[in-house]
């Protein structure tokens, strides 16, 4: 009898392990992917005469890498514009920005034009570049644009990647972000620890506290109940066992 139970239990265990394995390689945590890994040391072409690898650039000053393509009809332009404006508001300037095209159709000329449009061509803090090793670079920073044949466009994130002087990715920002987030990114490339907390979204069910930005107040959430459950259930279990064993004591 006992052996049967053990056998069934083992089968169930193996089954659930196999089943769950399929779920592990999920796509979440984009912003954390590749953080604290070394960035691929791609050779960047900056203009007709100049080229340098990412590590060579990073050695002088830490870098923020932004990924765009010049034929982008979506997020690239607003992203670059906001990025530029946010950076202007930040006083500390001990870092450089490298804008790299991930579209192999882009030439040095295209990138120079892009720099011109954003009025960054002569700004020494900014570098616009193309590279032959875009696939290795993209995978090393956890960036995976998908080509849409119909629209002749890439489906991609707006991404800024902080790389410190040792070539280590310290933080990533995905999406259009405010200057506060950018400050945290800059702090991280300077070696300071920046606490972060993932904000609850729609898929987040059991938050301990719910912050109301309108009132600025933190209200207890359903999650707190989960912390109390073990103690409450234990108490109930003891009471139930006490009732069940009443006859033995009599």
């Amino acid at each position: 009898m006992c052996k049967d139970y053990v056998f069934i239990f083992l089968i169930a265990l193996v089954f659930s392990t196999v089943n769950v394995t399929a779920q592990v390689t999920q796509n979440g945590w984009k912003e954390e992917r590749q953080v604290y890994q070394k960035v691929f040391d791609a050779k960047l072409d900056i203009d007709e005469q100049r080229s340098a690898t990412i590590l060579q650039l990073a050695q002088t000053k830490p870098l923020i890498i932004a990924m765009v393509f010049t034929r982008c009809t979506g997020v690239c332009s607003p992203f670059l514009l906001q990025f530029k404006e946010n950076l202007q508001m930040i006083e500390k300037k001990n870092f450089n920005v490298v804008v790299i095209s991930f579209d192999t159709r882009d030439s040095l000329k295209d990138m120079a034009m892009l720099a011109q449009i954003f009025d960054l061509k002569t700004n020494p803090q900014w570098t616009f570049a193309v590279t032959d090793a875009i696939d290795s670079l993209s995978s090393s920073i956890g960036f995976d644009p998908v080509w849409d044949e119909k629209r002749q466009q890439f489906e991609h994130d707006a991404i800024a990647v902080g790389v410190n002087t040792e070539g280590i990715i310290t933080k990533k920002l995905i999406g259009m972000r405010n200057s506060k987030d950018l400050e945290l990114l800059i702090k991280s490339i300077e070696g300071a620890f920046s606490p972060s907390y993932r904000l609850p979204g729609k898929s987040n069910l059991f938050s301990c506290f719910n912050y109301n930005p309108q009132t600025g107040r933190n209200m207890p959430g359903l999650g707190l109940l989960f912390i109390a459950i073990p103690a409450v259930v234990t108490f109930l279990l003891v009471v139930v066992i006490n009732l069940l064993t009443k006859n033995y004591r009599a």
């Binding site: 989960f226 912390i227 006490n242 004591r249």
Partner: protein, 480 residues
Amino acid sequence: METVKIKKITALWIVVVLLLFVVSIILGILMRLNQGEIIHHSPVTFYGNMTTHGLTMIGIWFVAGMAGVNYLMQRYVTVSLWPNMTGLIFTAIGVILLWVSTFIGDFHAGWTFLYPLPFKVMWASWATPMFLCSLTVMGVGWLIWSLGMVMQLLKRYSISQVFAWQHFGKNPKVETPPFVLISMITLVGVIASLLAAVVLLILYFMEFFSNSSFVNDALLMKNLTYFFGHTIANEMLYLGLAVLYELFSEVSGRPKWKTTWYIAVSWNLSLVFILTAFFHHLYMDFVQPEGLQIVGQLASYLASLPAAGVTVFSVIIAVYRTKIKWSLTNLLFFIGVAGWVVGGLGALIDATISNNFVLHNTLWVPAHFHTYNVMGNVLFSLAFFHWFAMQFANNNITERFAKTKLGLLILGGAGFLAVFYLGGAESIPRRYSNYPAEFPSAQVLAYVGAIFATVYLIAILFFFLNISKRCVKIMFSSSS
């Protein structure tokens, strides 16, 4: 018949625990040697060893306490075999799954597997679910075992008697033995912590199965992790204390300890404090409201006062200017209490919010929790193991090499712990596989730690050989 089986299963538990202890110490020494740059492991190997070491140690000293309490409980109530058996089978399966996930699957998220680390797959993709399954299996087994014991206690004692509430007043009609009281209080804490693990694991699995359409709240997960981790690590110490309360006076040839009003009050209070002290693990979490941080500090202070204060007081009273029959068993208990007090003080220093800003995640943390384990709880259980083995030794064995064994144990343990404390005082971070140049003394301290730990290991090997030899005989003897 049932008693004989429980005797045999206890002997088996003892052998298994000691065997796994030796392996886990070796993993610990390898970690210290790596930190000392004497050997060179990859970070994956280091953190794999750290995860295996941490979880195996917590697991074995928990089951050691349970086995001891389970065995001695036969003195007061009828103890059934099957919950104990279930605990054993589930622990064995759980340990195998754990070791496969870490040694073969390279899972290395630490024994606290803090969310979201298990989902940041930097190992074989099957290793995360296998690791979580291993915890589930052990958790279920231990829950059944604990509930089984609570059931046995409540078959004999009413709820108020088992918690010794009648001792709050004068002249209680029924006496609740201290062993029964402490066991019950501890088992309730154990059950709560295991249920916290159940909730935690369910949330983990939900996120797995939902394919990211459901994500967990990091703060909730951290609270649950420490509700489980901190509480079970503390409760396993109390299991050891229950054994001490039962055996110390007996082996010392002194009258048996009785439950008084202050023992009853202090242990009842400690249940509340122990269940809320885990908040001190979240001092650095800026999103946790301040009120809970204060609860964490207060509960940490208060938790230590009743149980530690009363126990230390009782032990000192028992030995001060009285004729004691000293043996290896009560010496181990006595030194264990001293280790527990030193570790407890180290813990209180760290649990003070203002100090925690300095000591958080430095070597001070492994320093204090290793103190009350390596020189505290382990000694309580070793005392029980030794006493148990001696009980059933046919001939009148003299306690050979007792002084050597104890000497090595104290020397090795104290030296190993001292360098952890020194490291903590110098703000050397914990959980670093290799120390950066900013901490010039860290490597040397790690190397010295490894040497002392080896001395400790030698002492443990002595105990292992001596005790296991007798336990194996007990396991295979046909007589009762």
